[in-house]
Amino acid sequence: MPERAPDFVYTVFIAADQETVWNGLLDRELTKAYWGHYNESDWKQGSRWEHVRSDGSDTVDITGKVIEMDPPNRMVFSWTSPKNAHDPDQESRVTIELIALGPDTRLTVTHSDLIAGSDMEKGVTQGWPAVISNLKTLLETGKTLREDDWPKA
């Protein structure tokens, strides 16, 4: 049971099996295609993870710790901007859950502990719906949406 209610809960149904969707969240080439970033980590509990731009600049836009990893069902990680990495108050939390529904998968992204009115909140609320919708399009059709359609993290 979470201590606090989540700030946002985004859901998308993807016509692909659960393993494919899980892989789609971690695979460097796939995330580059629909997210413009790759996620760098060994994905062990307690390890750091970094959300890195795929444009060759290797700029780290988001960083955090892996809190829970239960492939291919659930991952929980903390989420913060590198410039605020020293400040635990700025840290928010992302939970991604996958549930198999026959041949399809339900993907839920929950974001908690965001600071109301912060730039991070704005970025996150614009970013996640576009990212998961883009992942859906990529896995279902092999195509991504126009890159300039969705905001950068």
Partner: protein, 108 residues
């Protein structure tokens, strides 16, 4: 996509989405309190919104919280709004809002 349109076709359901847009993560009781509808009606409408994926839910203990899920609406916008139209559509929407707000102010 047709269940999204069906869900959005109803004024009461649109007001429920407005309420979640104003404050995300409400329980059924909270939503029923502020709506001119019975709790049963709110529950029924929320179930329709949830099955159209316009509302996602999270549990806090035994309490089911409701969240506006904009993903299907985003997909509708992407389907019909072209690459260079976004800015013009935004500008028109802003203009409309400004005009309508100033009209309200004049009336007041």
């Amino acid at each position: 996509m047709s269940d999204v349109f069906r869900a959005l076709a109803d004024e009461s359901r649109r007001s429920l989405l407005d309420a979640l847009f104003a404050r995300n993560g409400q329980s059924l009781s909270e939503m029923a309190e502020n709506m001119p509808m019975s709790r049963q009606a709110v529950a029924k409408h929320l179930a329709i919104l949830e099955s159209a994926n316009l509302v996602s839910t999270a549990w806090r203990g035994r309490e089911k919280l409701h969240y506006l899920n904009p993903v299907p609406i985003g997909e509708i916008v992407r389907r019909w709004v072209g690459k260079f139209e976004d800015a013009r559509v935004d500008a028109l929407t802003d203009f409309k809002e400004q005009m309508e707000t100033s009209k309200e102010k004049r009336r007041a």
